[in-house]
């Protein structure tokens, strides 16, 4: 794969400015080679909807100038749209359970919440912070603005706060009991099966 394509992929994926130095490290080539590839990429992007923006020694991909008006309209529209059932449900889980990991939200909802969380973040209804218990992952919590908007001074003031939390806890601990039961039974299962189960289990951790 040519260097300019690799740079294109990285910048598209990141959506943030990146330094030439950093790119040269990632791609294990000299900064001169990166610069040459950037010139190449600029040519390749002619006639495309995205362009390369350079600032000092940083570069990033942005939507082409003529599209900016369109994007503005879309942003406004997105912010004024109704949240919808799935978003409200996700928001309510974050409200009652937050700070909460995405895997936990997904587990309770039974579906993947990736795009919904993105939208709630953009609308300033929730915040994404590093998990204090594990810096590699994130947790979601209601934003201050949301709590103020709801006129809730502390989370415990939420309707039936204790009851809701207890219900969710008991759902989760029901899972724990099941787990124990299988462990007790596991000696009658073949070793091969167990290994398979185990790898399936691992695959699910945090990839959610």
């Amino acid at each position: 794969m040519e260097l300019d394509k690799k740079i294109e992929a990285i910048l598209f994926w990141k959506g943030e400015p990146m330094s030439i130095k950093k790119l040269s490290q990632i791609l294990s080539v000299s900064e001169e080679e990166i610069k040459a590839a950037i010139e190449n990429l600029k040519i390749k992007l002619e006639g495309r909807g995205i362009s390369l923006m350079e600032k000092e020694s940083e570069i990033m991909l942005v939507t082409s100038g003529e599209a900016s008006e369109l994007i503005q309209t879309l942003t406004k529209e997105e912010l004024s749209k109704d949240l919808g059932k799935a978003s409200l449900e996700t928001l309510s889980i974050i409200l009652y359970q937050g700070p909460v990991k995405r895997s936990e939200i997904d587990y309770i909802r039974g579906v993947n919440s990736q795009f919904i969380l993105r939208n709630l973040l953009v609308r300033g209804l929730i915040e994404k912070i590093s998990d204090p218990k594990d810096a590699r992952t994130f947790v979601y919590k209601p934003s201050f603005e949301l709590l103020a908007h709801l006129n809730v001074k502390s989370i415990e003031e939420l309707p039936e706060y204790e009851a809701v939390r207890k219900d969710i806890e008991s759902f989760k601990s029901a899972g724990v009991e099941e787990e124990k039961k299988t462990e007790a039974l596991s000696d009658s299962e073949s070793l091969e099966n167990e290994i398979q189960e185990d790898s399936e289990l691992k695959a699910n951790e945090d990839s959610i």
Partner: protein, 246 residues
């Protein structure tokens, strides 16, 4: 909360997977001849899993349903004069069809296994250049959010019981096997004169042992029914795969 969540599903071979394995092991094509040839192996397998601790009863019922269809096929091959009812013929055709579909999809699954995770295309990361504006909608209020969490709680997965239809089928299966036993016994008496010559002893022997096998399967069905009468199904099916917390 720093724990991860997962739904764990027990791994065991399904009734069609086991059957297909037996057919493929003998390098046979899926048809009634092949099915009647593997019927005995399959029934011994079903007998063995019934005694295995931890094997979900709901799934045993599925195995017994397949076993019973194999019995029909085998009965017909032993006693060509035996006429199957429309429903019986239907279940024979149905089993063949399911096996063929299953086999084709299982072969296609090879492609999926080969490609999955090999060259992943990635969706872009969250776009951080969005200007964050606090933008609630008309439903961003306590009553709506409370209703939403209530709804989410209501939709949490519950243990699933054996669908009534399966239980009923298993019960009528017992009757079916009872009837089949009677039909074969009388057919055997009627056909006795047909069995002439050197094969006579052999054939009677075959059919008698076949009748014994029918009894065994019938016992298996009763076993499943009893599990239900003792109210154990609920517990047993819990193992089909209730969400786990790890």
């Amino acid at each position: 909360m720093s724990l991860d969540f997962t739904v764990k599903t027990p791994v065991f071979e399904g009734p069609l997977e086991v059957l297909l394995g037996m057919i493929e092991k003998r390098k046979l094509f899926i048809n009634d001849i092949a099915l009647s040839q593997v019927a005995d192996d399959y029934i011994s397998y079903v007998q063995s899993i019934q005694n295995e601790r931890g094997f979900p009863i709901a799934e045993v019922a599925q195995f017994i349903l397949v076993a019973s269809t194999l019995l029909l096929i085998k009965s017909k091959s032993l006693l060509p004069t035996l006429t199957l009812t429309e429903e019986e013929t239907q279940s024979v055709n149905d089993l063949e069809l399911r096996l063929k579909i299953y086999q084709r999809l299982r072969n296609a699954a090879e492609h999926v296994a080969q490609r999955f995770g090999e060259d992943i295309m990635f969706a872009p990361l969250d776009r951080k250049n969005d200007v964050k504006v606090f933008a609630p909608d008309k439903d961003t209020n306590l009553p709506s959010l409370f209703a939403s969490i209530q709804n989410a709680l209501k939709n949490l997965p519950k243990k699933e019981f054996i669908p009534k239809a399966v239980v009923q089928k298993v019960i009528s299966l017992e009757e079916m096997i009872g009837r089949l036993t009677t039909r074969i016994s009388s057919n055997l008496r009627m056909s006795f004169t047909q069995f002439s010559g050197e094969h006579k002893g052999n054939r009677v022997h075959i059919i008698v042992s076949f009748l014994a096998m029918l009894e065994l399967v019938k016992n298996g069905i009763i076993h499943v029914k009893q599990e239900k009468d003792f109210g154990d199904i609920e517990m047993e099916t819990g193992e089909v795969g209730v969400p786990r917390y790890s």
